[in-house]
């Protein structure tokens, strides 16, 4: 299936958000959203990934 991960199209077979994070090699300190809604870390393993999903994976960055 094709999803959008941080704004870029991605082919993936990941069943859950947790699988996707593992597959994409993200570090431990990230926050996630699926289709514009916050997904807490504790729910990633039970959050399914579906065709067309928009996934955002954010990390700490410089800010003012």
């Amino acid at each position: 299936m094709t999803i959008t991960l941080n704004g870029a199209a991605l082919q993936t077979g990941a069943a859950t958000l947790a699988d996707l994070l593992y597959e994409a090699g993200f570090g431990p300190k990230v926050a996630t959203a699926r289709n514009g809604a916050f997904v807490p870390a504790g729910l990633r393993a039970s959050t399914p990934i579906a065709e067309g999903d928009r996934i955002e994976v954010l990390a700490p960055m410089q800010g003012g």
């Binding site: 941080n6 300190k29 926050a31 809604a37 990390a59 700490p60 960055m61 410089q62 800010g63 003012g64």
Partner: protein, 254 residues
């Protein structure tokens, strides 16, 4: 020292973490500043997030995540939730931006987002204007701190509306007030503190200085001077001259 949501912080200087030439310069500037709070953000992970997390953990300051760049209530609220989990704090510098040129707050959206987040247990630091009515509504929405702008973000123009900032201080004597944005020089920071503001939040003035650590040191001295002056109860200005040397007893020498 200022107290925000029951927590006393080490300094009235709040410093941003963006735009420094290198992580080493950032760390050096923070050491020189003695800042009690570091503002941070969150963006799409592109490989540097884990390193930055290690860096800010080493600064020894409290962390204030922001919702910079959010233009809608939904965006800001979702970003705040992500920040709370990521940074492990209920504090959030709430930005709902209205205009891309001035980066002035969307005050209507700001109030709505502040209410939603306050009800959800967040401790909101709203980046707002100095408008008394708006600030009153932010307090009603649950904010216990206000952060009116001095001037547009990154402009370095200083305090554009000193009358408005003074009025805000006078109307809310017990609310922690922070001038956020627009500070370009140490004298601007001093002016805010002389007015009785509890803290200033700045970033670009230090990060973009030729010597960031030197400017950070200058800002630290500036907030100390301003606070000391406020506590010393400054004299009232006069329109006309008033001799400081006594006239009585002056020799008649003409």
């Amino acid at each position: 020292m200022p107290v925000f949501y029951g927590t006393e912080v080490a300094s009235p200087l709040m410093l941003g973490t963006a735009q420094y030439p290198s992580p080493a310069v950032l760390a050096e500037a923070f050491r020189a500043s003695g800042a009690g709070i570091a503002t941070v953000s969150l963006r799409r992970e592109q490989g540097g997030g884990q390193d930055f997390w290690s860096l800010i953990q080493g600064l020894g300051t409290r962390i204030l995540p922001n919702t910079a760049g959010c233009h809608t209530v939904k965006e800001a609220v979702t970003t705040a939730h992500m920040a709370r989990e990521l940074f492990g704090t209920a504090w959030v510098k709430l930005e709902v931006i209205d205009h891309t040129d001035t980066l002035q707050p969307d005050v209507v959206g700001l109030i709505e987002a502040a209410r939603i987040l306050s009800q959800d247990g967040f401790q909101v630091f709203p980046y707002c204007t100095e408008d008394l009515g708006i600030c009153s509504r932010l307090l009603d929405a649950g904010c216990e701190v206000l952060m009116p702008w001095g001037a547009p973000i990154g402009s370095g123009m200083g305090l554009n509306n000193r009358y408005g900032l003074r009025s805000l201080r006078a109307h809310f004597p017990d609310v922690p007030l922070v001038v956020d944005a627009g500070i370009g020089l140490p004298s601007h920071a001093t002016q805010a503190m002389e007015m009785g503001y509890d803290a200033v939040l700045l970033n670009t003035a230090v990060a973009r200085a030729g010597d960031p650590a030197g400017m950070a040191r200058a800002m630290a001295l500036a907030v100390q001077a301003g606070r000391a002056a406020f506590l010393a109860d400054p004299m009232a200005p006069r329109d006309m001259a008033a001799p400081s040397t006594p006239v009585l007893g002056k020799a008649f020498l003409t």
